[in-house]
């Protein structure tokens, strides 16, 4: 299906396409009786993060997702899918809510990253993300996360520790957006296309690194050309993976989740050195 000449930067453009289905499109297409739950009970309600409950595959599930807009007006409302701390804390509230009632958690990742600004820092952006990571590590419910568009940085990971991590064919997932990566590496945001290639951010790359569990195929040319078909593909994948992990007890689930993340990373280890201590 993939045109072989597609560069990583081309893929970024598809992942960011305004008409690409966003979290609320998946919610409408997949979830019956969806009810949005709002607010972090601490500061406010962040429209960049969607939270709610509904029915999927015959059971009640909790849903979290970054929400991008399809036009300028929507993007302003949802802050381009970039949450403030209250967005991550709303997500945290929903995670704990889901754990309390035993609802499996479905996460939809679609953000270029957490919102960088004065207000975010004052309210503890780093702490909000860090806390979610710690809580998701131990959350006693099945979690399936899907990168539906752009997965960027800690803002993506903050709803992204999961038992199964899925990724759409033309989605990207990176430690920082290609623009930010180029700025950090070469002090030149204009080199984003080069950064996109060097950083290995496509679904194929992440599958090779063993970080994602499945690449969900998209309609020819991308999900924006046939959202209904794309959402149907996501439905099949979610059903399959939820079903597969539902058989595990909580302790097995958490053990497997631990091992999944504990092994990520590539290091060399010299075996010969026995005495490495300094003083």
């Amino acid at each position: 299906m993939t045109a072989p000449e597609l560069t990583p930067w081309d893929t970024v453009q598809i992942a960011r396409h305004a008409q690409r289905p966003h979290t609320l499109d998946y919610v409408r297409g997949l979830i019956e009786d969806f009810v949005e739950l709002r607010g972090d009970r601490r500061f406010g309600d962040d429209a960049a993060m969607i939270a709610g409950v509904g029915r999927f595959a015959g059971q009640t599930v909790a849903i979290l997702g970054h929400q991008k807009g399809s036009n300028t007006k929507e993007n302003l409302k949802h802050n381009f899918g970039s949450p403030h701390p209250e967005g991550f804390r709303k997500a945290l509230r929903l995670m704990q809510h889901a754990a309390k009632f035993g609802f499996p958690l479905l996460c939809f990742i679609d953000t270029s990253g957490a919102s960088p600004n004065l207000a975010s820092e004052e309210r503890g952006q780093a702490e909000a993300i860090a806390e979610n990571l710690l809580v998701m590590a131990d959350l006693p419910i099945p979690i399936v996360a899907t990168v539906i568009g752009e997965g960027g940085s800690g803002g993506a990971l903050a709803i992204g520790i999961a038992d199964r991590l899925l990724m759409l064919e033309y989605a990207v997932y990176s430690v920082a957006s290609p623009e930010a990566s180029a700025t950090i590496l070469w002090r030149d945001g204009a080199q984003a296309p080069e950064a996109a290639a060097a950083m290995r951010i496509t679904a194929k790359d992440l599958a090779e690194f063993g970080i994602i569990d499945e690449v969900i195929p998209e309609p020819e040319g991308g999900a924006h050309l046939d959202p209904v078909a794309a959402i149907a593909q996501v439905r099949m994948a979610l059903q399959k993976h939820l079903h597969a992990i539902a058989v595990h007890s909580v302790s097995v689930l958490l053990e497997q989740r631990y091992n999944k993340y504990r092994r990520i990373g590539v290091v060399h280890e010299r075996q010969a050195t026995l005495f490495a201590s300094r003083s």
Binding site: G124, G154, V175, I201, Y261, V266, Q271
Partner: protein
């Protein structure tokens, strides 16, 4: 007042001229206030300016020497070396070359891990080495933190981390982002056995380290004046096109906004950590 407004001060010897008449190493010019301090006095003061209190950055080895009981330090996982999983090529310098250059200078990686004692209390200790690629978190740092947390959990002792980092190691791409997840799952396990993680934030601590294990600690202590945050000042100023106040993202700013437990001068740090280790010590029978 008029004296201050005068363009060229009269009867004034330029401090620059005074500088040139003394050996380089005898006096230390403070990066904070510009005042000169007798170098030995400055070193005895753990690189803190006695005049303005500016805390100069220290290498990992200096931190270890400052904090732990003499002779108690045993480095762990020193064998872990960075790989180049992305085959990262850059027009300036490739990752593998950069690592080789730094290692020739005697720096091993961006984190030094070990076990030690502070006032005879055992602990696992991980210290950032900011001089190695800005203390950035790649697979090695993630692995060292995770192993240190597991070691602390297994042996029933606290984990103390001293954190200075520019953020994720870009050259390891998504693998570096996933170290935020890896350290978090390991620290969740440490929490399960109710051993504390004490995070000490030193200048500067930003990005992926602040947004993962360094901020999810049970106790967070910061050094005076340390810059701590998620997005760096330059990124924010570029994004919102607004000048930020000078105290923004300092340890004092974080304390005021409820993000950390205390701001502790370097001279008091060993005593503060020792106190926590005593207060949170669990007898093996209960652990």
């Amino acid at each position: 007042m008029k004296e201050f407004l005068r363009r060229t001060p009269r009867y004034f010897t330029s401090p620059k001229q005074a500088d040139q008449q003394i050996p380089d190493d005898l006096w230390k010019k403070c990066a904070g206030c510009g005042e000169l301090t007798y170098t030995k006095q400055w070193l005895d003061n753990a690189k803190v300016c006695p005049k303005c209190g500016h805390h100069e950055r220290m290498a990992a080895a200096e931190w270890i020497e400052l904090l732990v009981d003499k002779g108690s330090w045993q480095e762990q996982d020193a064998d872990l070396q960075p790989a180049d999983p992305l085959n990262f090529v850059s027009p300036r310098n490739n990752y593998a070359e950069k690592v080789a250059t730094l290692q020739e200078q005697g720096l091993n990686e961006s984190s030094v891990s070990g076990i030690a004692q502070i006032e005879e209390q055992p602990l696992a200790l991980c210290v950032s080495e900011f001089g190695f690629m800005g203390g950035s978190m790649g697979s090695v740092m993630g692995e060292k933190i995770a192993r240190a947390a597991e070691r602390a959990a297994d042996e029933g002792m606290a984990l103390v981390t001293i954190n200075a980092s520019g953020g994720a190691r870009m050259q390891e791409g998504i693998l570096s982002l996933m170290q935020m997840a890896k350290t978090s799952v390991a620290l969740a396990r440490l929490g399960d056995v109710r051993q504390p993680h004490i995070s000490i934030l030193i200048d500067p601590c930003l990005g992926g380290v602040t947004a993962s294990y360094a901020s999810s600690a049970d106790i967070i202590v910061a050094e005076p004046g340390a810059v701590v945050g998620f997005a760096g000042r330059r990124v924010i100023e570029q994004t919102i096109r607004q000048k930020l106040p000078p105290e923004f993202q300092t340890a004092e700013f974080l304390l005021e906004h409820g993000m950390i437990d205390m701001v502790t001068p370097r001279a008091e740090l060993r005593g503060v950590v020792a106190k926590f280790l005593r207060l949170y010590r669990r007898s093996p029978a209960r652990a």
